[in-house]
Symmetry: C2
Subunit: 140 residues, 2 copies
Amino acid sequence: MSDLLGRLRERGWRLTSQRRVVAEVLDGEHVHLTADEVHARAVERLPEISRATVYNALGELVTLGEVVELSTDGRAKRYDPNARHPHHHLVCSRCGTIRDVHPTGDLMTGLAAEERFGFTVSKVEVTYRGLCPACAGQDA
Amino acid sequence: MSDLLGRLRERGWRLTSQRRVVAEVLDGEHVHLTADEVHARAVERLPEISRATVYNALGELVTLGEVVELSTDGRAKRYDPNARHPHHHLVCSRCGTIRDVHPTGDLMTGLAAEERFGFTVSKVEVTYRGLCPACAGQDA
DNA sequence: ATCCTACGATGGACGCAATCCAAGTCAAGA
DNA sequence: TCTTGACTTGGATTGCGTCCATCGTAGGAT
């Protein structure tokens, strides 16, 4: 994120206290909050902020390319602020913990031309699934 | 799917007319129906089948490993019957069309040990995104 | 062929995530 | 300071999925 607020202002984003708080909450590595979690943290700083506003701000940040939306389980979407440094995800199948990962190699070349069905392919998302150390520890 | 019903019977699956219809609807390549779409098609053959039953049957087929659940867009989950032949997906960003693809290369080796955060990684899902020929055709 | 019974089906109520909307509020340029 | 269009609000609404009490039935036993 670093100078997210500066970049947004340059793009003509009207800077309200609500938007500022949402952007501040979404800062750091391995941050993958749901909209409700973002709202809960935003409320700590700005008690009257509404859910609708959080949804609006998140949607705009996604459109602007500053945040990526993840749906790793069919439940609530999660918002990842690390959009400026492309990466993939490692997800615990039991507890849902998510880590950012940076696999090596060109993932794009694996898909042969005759397997593209005429699509113009523009990006690849990779999700590794398994058990995190804590969940692998507990038997069963 | 081929002899899905036979395999299910061997596993002690009680074969009801409802389950048979759900299994029949989920047959073929590049089939990625939502639960509601499965229900709609099932109703054509068995008018009184309920949505709850379709959800139950789909959930069981997923547990049995005969069908995989996809959430490519955060909207309704989709059900892919091709679970016995592992594959990945190519999704149109505009219309949502999904094709099965089989990329070459070992996707697992790309993830360095120090990038695994102690996880025991058991599978990898790859989603290619882009525009299908029809959507790329229309300008805008 | 018939009976039994445990497992499956039903459908309406419920819950969660997300979106919509009309009315009120405010950031930022003049 | 004023003005205005963009933003915020919260309650209603929608979409997707699950739950649950009741009814029905597949398939083994006789």
